[in-house]
Symmetry: D2
Subunit: 418 residues, 4 copies
Amino acid sequence: MSFALSPQTVRGEAVVAAASSLVETFAQRAQAADAANQVSRENFDELIERRVTSAFVPVELGGFGLESIHDWILTIATLARGDASTAIALNMHLVVSRGMVQAYTDAKARLGADHPTTDGLAQLLGRLVTGEMLICATATEPGTDNLHPFTEAVRDGDHADSGWRINGRKIFVTLSPIATHLAMNLRLRDADGDHLASVLLPMNTPGMTPQDDWDALGMRSSGSQSVLFEDVRVPLPDLHKLGPWGRWSVGNLQSRALANLPLVGAFLGIAEAAHDTALAHLATQSRLGQPASENSGVRHVVAEMALELGQCRAVLGAAALQMDDYFARHAPAESVATMEDAHRLMLDYQVAKWTVNRGAIEIVSKAMDLLGGSGYTNSHVLARLYRDVRAGPFMQPFGATELREYVGKVTLGMWPDQ
Amino acid sequence: MSFALSPQTVRGEAVVAAASSLVETFAQRAQAADAANQVSRENFDELIERRVTSAFVPVELGGFGLESIHDWILTIATLARGDASTAIALNMHLVVSRGMVQAYTDAKARLGADHPTTDGLAQLLGRLVTGEMLICATATEPGTDNLHPFTEAVRDGDHADSGWRINGRKIFVTLSPIATHLAMNLRLRDADGDHLASVLLPMNTPGMTPQDDWDALGMRSSGSQSVLFEDVRVPLPDLHKLGPWGRWSVGNLQSRALANLPLVGAFLGIAEAAHDTALAHLATQSRLGQPASENSGVRHVVAEMALELGQCRAVLGAAALQMDDYFARHAPAESVATMEDAHRLMLDYQVAKWTVNRGAIEIVSKAMDLLGGSGYTNSHVLARLYRDVRAGPFMQPFGATELREYVGKVTLGMWPDQ
Amino acid sequence: MSFALSPQTVRGEAVVAAASSLVETFAQRAQAADAANQVSRENFDELIERRVTSAFVPVELGGFGLESIHDWILTIATLARGDASTAIALNMHLVVSRGMVQAYTDAKARLGADHPTTDGLAQLLGRLVTGEMLICATATEPGTDNLHPFTEAVRDGDHADSGWRINGRKIFVTLSPIATHLAMNLRLRDADGDHLASVLLPMNTPGMTPQDDWDALGMRSSGSQSVLFEDVRVPLPDLHKLGPWGRWSVGNLQSRALANLPLVGAFLGIAEAAHDTALAHLATQSRLGQPASENSGVRHVVAEMALELGQCRAVLGAAALQMDDYFARHAPAESVATMEDAHRLMLDYQVAKWTVNRGAIEIVSKAMDLLGGSGYTNSHVLARLYRDVRAGPFMQPFGATELREYVGKVTLGMWPDQ
Amino acid sequence: MSFALSPQTVRGEAVVAAASSLVETFAQRAQAADAANQVSRENFDELIERRVTSAFVPVELGGFGLESIHDWILTIATLARGDASTAIALNMHLVVSRGMVQAYTDAKARLGADHPTTDGLAQLLGRLVTGEMLICATATEPGTDNLHPFTEAVRDGDHADSGWRINGRKIFVTLSPIATHLAMNLRLRDADGDHLASVLLPMNTPGMTPQDDWDALGMRSSGSQSVLFEDVRVPLPDLHKLGPWGRWSVGNLQSRALANLPLVGAFLGIAEAAHDTALAHLATQSRLGQPASENSGVRHVVAEMALELGQCRAVLGAAALQMDDYFARHAPAESVATMEDAHRLMLDYQVAKWTVNRGAIEIVSKAMDLLGGSGYTNSHVLARLYRDVRAGPFMQPFGATELREYVGKVTLGMWPDQ
């Protein structure tokens, strides 16, 4: 009850249980990690040990075989109750690893389990399980949006087998300080035009320079530094074209909605932590001998916080179920999604993003109202939640100044292609 | 997608389909019924014909055998897209008929299908199917709340088999102008104290006088007149005690939440009608040659309306699923609900009530903004929706000045018994 | 205190006192006028008798000599506490009469008191005092905005002294059923291009046909019917050019802000009436023996209503003072206003419009929450206020879908010329 | 225009000009002071030098002779645009110094300018001008409110001339790290009962121990540490009784409203700084070649920020004017205020507090939306404003969980005495 999300699949239940077992420990480390402005290596060691980092890896290869997006979101939300920075950092890794699992599953179905390609991919997934691979991902650059990355790859010579040279700068590269690999989005300038493309690179690739410049108001232990790319050379086949540069496609819309909806879960987790912190505080408070719960003014603010939390949970839960349903309906063999389908998926993500990001800010603010001065102390968990929660509305697509324009268009039956 | 509710059961799908087939016709009649300030007899004839009035009656007895509360709510929401007055009037009948179906099912399980009691109940249900019975219900009286009805039944003599005499006045007796029977709540003053009790009475019972005094701002064709009870005599066994007067019990909490959550669906239906009306209008509009959809100001308001609608749908849908889950868990043989359980159920209904009643008001208001002066015309559907939608926050429990107090208490772990 | 507006000038005090003396009577007539869907002739007879209709007419000519815009607004707000339809209808007359007073004052200053032009204008003003002239004004047409009227005047022949021929259709011509004259805005198509222009016409001018089609959700006794213009002939000198068609000018911006800010006062008056109605109701209510004021839930809603009312009053009061200050600074002899100045004046009006129109809707809604079912009765004053108050956001410039775009532009330092 | 506050008196104009001249410098120091978590000594040196600290001191004694509360508020709001911590710290000093000025003025009127008492007070005021005296004030203790201080003074012996002994702990003693004196509120337990009382003490009084424990989320350079009082001895006549302990009186209500309304100004200053920061940022931004101002989504958020700022300014400005008017009407010789008068004054302050504290939070949040990631950088001014602004709702009377209860009561005509 109370609109709390609960696992929808058996595998999801196992992943969420693993995440739940870490919440308390993460919460205890969170203030120190925030103060140190550093990713908690210990948190990730435990996430690897409990195989949360290999949630999507098939059971046969040592992972949980998670498939439900709903349960992925719940995993992120659960961890964020302890430490939202860790939760959003982990999400980068999970997004990329889910893609790798799909590649493996496709290869296995197409080529068989024994084919060298399948096997190669299986070995890669094995490295996720051991923790040898921890993957961050790029999304954002200054002065542009996700659809128009300026970082570009051009051919590094005229030969048929010449590789690529990458130049550019990425910001908000969450998890990068402890990642072993980086999955990046870029603009591939080719003879036949400009493409969106992606590539997976080891963090120690020559020409890649993390900037150690993350010092933000909140989400301080997410390691969201920027990374510079100067003449980074990659071999020919490693770049994957994803569609035309600067254009929405069904694939882009789906993958952006998919990757970002779990991030919304992190802000739900923050809201839940603030809500629980406030209730725990009130249980110990009295003024002039009257317990806090006897104060009708307190009860009204508690109610407003609880109403808002119920709304956030219900909307995110429903969006999650819809997304699982979408991908069930649009699995390759079944049906090809149209631009309208994909925009409507994106729309539903935006409704969840708008509701939860704003609701979580409001819930933390109500919790502040309930704690009064004590929650305003720098060392108090609520002070960190207040700083962390404000990161939500920036997340793309779409930022706070773009979201309503987009939602309005799609509601009016327009399917923008950029 | 878009957080629209869809049937969760096969039987629910059939009921919702029957309801859907009536929406357009109901919408066409709604303005005239509103102007006439009368219940639409034709609407109810069609609801009987399509067996929506016998939705809960078992299939074996000619009904749909509906069990899912979620799908009940969706039925009400669907009808309300055409005419909310009819939808809330029907809901009164469905609440009571659901109770009668439970009595039949219990008797059948306990006494067997051939027992006269079972058979008597089966025949009663048969009259629901034919439309011979159409039942309204009382809930509200002036100056008190549902838990403390002032209308009272006292023993009508000193003999062991003396019946009861009922006196009082009920307001908002929706559907009563065309109902054949009335299910009422009252205070039973007995030797062992005061009890909440109920009784089912034919509308033509001597001493019962409908007041024909319903002339409201909105919900004008719901027939929510008041009814006067002057020395209404009922035989001894017809009154059913439901628990102590003025006290919440597990049963009361459950039945009040159950009866009222579908009413929230009516306000979702109003919101959906307003939303769709606005979009249909905008599709035909232009200003100085520019289509309305090209206007960014329009898009922002459309987005705000759509975001709010997504939230209302998600919250009501989640509350509905939770309620089905609650009754599955707390079916008699399985588990006995505690006061905490029952208050948490009531809490979830309040979250849905708060969200949808207020959200629907906001959505209708945004639709007004989008239509400008044309929606403000008295004969325009939106003008009626604007009047109808305002009835939502009054519905008990809990009214607009009580809801937050209650939600605050339960969130703080208090289980009020009055 | 409580942010209530109070007269800023001695003359304003007299006008407001006259208005105040009518509030109670207007309130008593309001429900009947609303039901009859007709302008209250009695109200206007009394407004004439108390010289509220001649508020702006100089004292020497029998009026109040009102100059303060603040006090004009307070006059409208005061009357709207009794009957908002009458208040907005009167405002049309006051806007036009204020212009006529300016013409007289200018003529007197320029030509002397004895000049025939001055004298002619004085006589015209005399007819305002006697009530022989009651003037409505046009502003709106379907499918366009105030800056781009489609109703047009073209030359009615080739002679130098040929007059004009007007064709078009105006909607929302408030007060027109009992007005003697109509001041209209139109597009004047001339040899040197298209102009905004105005003309004052007797209501019985051939070719002008009131449509008797006003039947709205609210503001029902405002007489806001549409008027058709078919080959309406006017002599050459009667049309006054006001600037280029479709272009904002300093003059247009000023006159639109000036004419419409008092209308915002009408919605403040509605809010005040709703607030007072709710408090009066609560003073008589109890539930289960507890006075309403002892109920903390009631107190919270009362507080929210009072906070909102304080905000509305403060913002409208400040906007009014700013407007008086603006016109004091930009009186012809002193200073010429720039487009920036004029847009900033318009911006301030928009802040007041946004705040009060939306706040008043919210206040009426809170009052509904406080009255519960009794305020939802069709004959209750609150039901009328609920319908009347929704007219606010439509008022131009700028409607609900345009206001934020405009405010955003001006705040960003853009001075749009259309 | 734009609802910006402007000085209402000539003296106020001079003080505001002095404050304005410091804004830029304060802003430059603010980030460092925030990081150091220390009161900026340099800021106060300059405030002393420009005589802002002696704003209320009569001109004849070297101050500005400020009388207008409106202009006091504007002074605080102005300084807060540069550094809100400094502004609220200064306000403590101004509150107390205003009281000292009143004592001097009263003595002069009553006893003559040459009386030793008058002269003693004049010399004290002289020390305000030189900066020899900088005064902090206590208000808050944990677990109670302003009306019920637990810190208490008891007689220190049985002799007629025995002094007092004070014990207790005060929190949020803003400015105390650099103050020379402390004005404290306490409970005086006397033979005739418990009283609210005050006393002015040098910071180096034996038994007073500042705790150096201020390390908050925001307002970090306000020096709001706690101070411990252990057997602090004060001579008999230094304590001033202010009315019964735990009871509102006209005097208490007036002095609490008076002291705290200027604090609201500090949050308006924060809002203005955030608003201006956002507009300055946007003027330099473009995305994919499109200037930010061309983006309609940006314009909508800018508009919402500007609308909210207009509301905050208008409400605070109106409350300030009302307070000046109140004290003009209730100057001793004129009229004695009733409890109703005093509660209505307090009510108006609450309306301003609610509006501005919440509005400022919203404005900072909109500014965050407009800046995106760049405002979320730890070193960015907006990150500090985001932390500082959240202190507003805690300020008493009344905190966020109490304000609506109080406003509801007074609106309903209840004049609570505790």
